[in-house]
């Protein structure tokens, strides 16, 4: 049948497109493509084992394995935390509190996604959780106040992916383990690029607001120092919550999952203190969290199965080997790898991308003269990009779950931020010191 992995890849892309356009749910589409991949590939089977038993067994196992995960548990908990904050007055107060501080910058509250995501990324290891929590609090509030919805969605998609770049980061941990690189150095190495990227997002928002003033509401309030002082009263509880959740991780009391539980309890306490916590909105929060989790996890299970199939039929391996055989100059190599990761990132989740390609890609990259530490950060940004590329982009799904906008509108809103990220990758290639400076300075 299809022995050439490149042709098989194209055929599978065709199948995926067909399923998706026919309106099959994304998770089920991924399962279908996985099955197609196994059937089309020449799998060596002894006469006593049937291919359908093999595929079915793999499917059942990957559903169980991908969902039975301690680190994944943080995801629904952080989503729930966001839901609770969102359904009670806490989120309104956070925005009210930030307003006097952001009011003088062009674009005003539109920066809140960038600021809040950067803050939250320092608590959460995953981009999906960052996007979910912050988006839940901010998106509707921004629309209500008359800010441009498209810019709000785009900045959320872009800034939400900081969850992987600003430590702690699930992807960095996996990369560090697989590539034998110091995870501590990776964490520190992600700080500057993360902050720079957040800065670029803010610059872009400010630029848009200057060129096109309609994106922010017309009336503009003036704020005095007294207002700012008063706003601290609104900000303090949330900052305290962030500090408790974040401090727990940094000072070593909790793992991210446990921090998520503390976050949930903390947000419940806050809601109680503001006297907003009714049985009804608690119930609503739980149900919505279950719903969002179910949505994401069906796709995670499908992606896990597809990744397994991709591993078996040797697609990632085939593409990487084809690239290795081309003998490219370092920058061309990086360009080709970047394109490869963009394509893989369309259909696969970040962890699978890293796990499947690294064994072959890393030796090529190191041979071309790049440091594994630098490449780790490069890879993290490629993974971030994969979060916001269709058809499988977890941040996109999360946003769709929150914003209830058509996918096309979300994609359009996200595009500028996607391009900023690409710019960031180029900048990293030109100035590798952005990654390497802090780790060299701080560890020995």
């Amino acid at each position: 049948m299809f022995t050439d992995p490149l042709i098989l890849t194209l055929v599978l892309f065709g199948v995926l497109l067909l399923c998706l356009l026919a309106g099959l749910w994304i998770g089920f589409s991924l399962f279908t493509v996985g099955i197609a991949g196994m059937l089309l590939h020449q799998v060596n089977l002894p006469p006593t084992i049937s291919i359908f038993d093999k595929i079915g067994g793999l499917m059942a196992n990957s559903v169980w394995n991908s969902l039975n995960s301690w680190s994944l548990t943080a995801l629904p908990l952080f989503i729930l935390m966001g839901e609770i904050l969102f359904r009670t007055a806490v989120s309104t107060r956070l925005l009210n509190g930030l307003l006097p501080w952001l009011g003088w910058i062009p674009g005003r509250l539109l920066h809140i996604n960038v600021v809040a995501c950067s803050l939250f990324a320092a608590v959460s290891g995953s981009s999906a959780a960052t996007t979910a929590t912050v988006g839940k609090i901010t998106l509707d509030e921004l629309s209500k106040r008359g800010y441009d919805r498209s810019l709000a969605i785009g900045s959320l998609a872009g800034a939400g992916t900081l969850g992987f770049l600003i430590p702690p980061s699930l992807i960095m941990i996996i990369y560090g383990v697989l590539s034998d690189t110091s995870i501590g150095k990776l964490f520190i190495g992600g700080v500057i690029p993360g902050l720079v990227l957040a800065g670029f997002y803010s610059l872009y928002i400010a630029g848009r607001a200057l060129l096109n003033p309609q994106v922010v509401p017309g009336h503009k309030e003036r704020f005095t120092g007294r207002d700012r002082l008063a706003s601290l009263g609104d900000l303090a509880p949330v900052l305290l919550l962030v500090f408790v959740v974040l401090g727990g991780i940094y000072f070593g009391f909790t793992t991210p999952t446990e921090a998520a539980v503390i976050g949930v309890l903390g947000s419940l306490l806050l809601a109680l203190a503001y006297r907003n916590l009714t049985w009804d909105n608690f119930r609503q929060s739980l149900l919505q969290a279950v719903r969002t989790t179910g949505m994401i996890c069906l796709i995670i299970a499908g992606a896990a199965f597809l990744s397994q199939v991709v591993g078996f039929v040797g697609i990632a391996r085939g593409i990487s080997q084809a690239i290795a055989a081309m003998q490219l100059s370092p920058y061309t190599l990086l360009l080709v790898l970047g394109l490869m990761y963009l394509v893989l990132g369309m259909i696969l989740d970040g962890i699978s991308i890293v796990v499947m390609t690294l064994p072959i890609v890393l030796p090529i990259v190191v041979q071309a003269g790049f440091s594994p530490l630098w490449f780790g950060i490069f890879l993290v940004i490629m993974v971030e990009l994969s979060q916001i590329t269709p058809p499988v982009g977890f941040s996109l799904f999360v946003i769709q779950g929150i914003a209830a906008e058509p996918v096309a509108a979300i994609l359009k809103a996200t595009l500028p931020f996607f391009l900023i990220m690409i710019g960031m990758v180029i900048l990293l290639a030109l100035f590798p010191e952005m990654v390497l400076y802090l780790p060299e300075k701080m560890i020995h």
Binding site: L20, A22, G27, T32, G56, W64, W70, T73, L77, M295
Partner: protein, 141 residues
């Protein structure tokens, strides 16, 4: 009823985690995660929470659109039944081979895996309902 199951699973997940510092919190929260998700899948479907792309099908006239949606539900139902069947095989094997987790608790793995079966069965039923509901010659809801 579905909602209650989802609720309880989530609540239990929280309570278990809150009383942490046991050596099994990570193991059991993993199991509860599976249960929450699997019971949540059917609910998510019922409340139209799963994502699909409607760029093309959304532009069709109503009748063919409903045919398409019904067909998609049928395909998903077949996949789900296939998955359910093999999940049954997996759980049966896990039970008959006496497999336990490699943890302090040595939990017999078939017990948490039961949530897989229950959840998939519910999802199958919900998909069947979705398929029927969208058939053009049947009244909506």
């Amino acid at each position: 009823m579905l909602l209650i199951v989802g609720l309880v699973a989530t609540e239990v997940a929280l309570r278990t985690l809150a009383g942490r510092s046991t050596l099994v919190a990570d193991e059991y929260s993993g199991y509860l995660m599976v249960a929450t998700v699997l019971f949540g899948l059917a609910y998510t479907l019922a409340s139209d929470g799963h994502i699909r792309i409607t760029i093309l099908t959304g532009r069709l006239p109503e009748k063919p659109q409903r045919w398409f949606e019904s067909l998609a539900a049928l395909l998903a139902l077949l996949l789900c039944l296939y998955l359910f069947r093999h999940a049954c095989v997996m759980v049966y094997d896990t039970w008959s081979l006496g497999m336990t987790a490699d943890s302090i608790a040595e939990t017999p793995l078939w017990i948490p895996q039961l949530s897989l079966l229950a959840g998939l069965a519910l999802l199958c039923l919900q998909l069947l309902a979705e398929m029927l509901r969208r058939l053009p010659f049947l009244p909506t809801r």
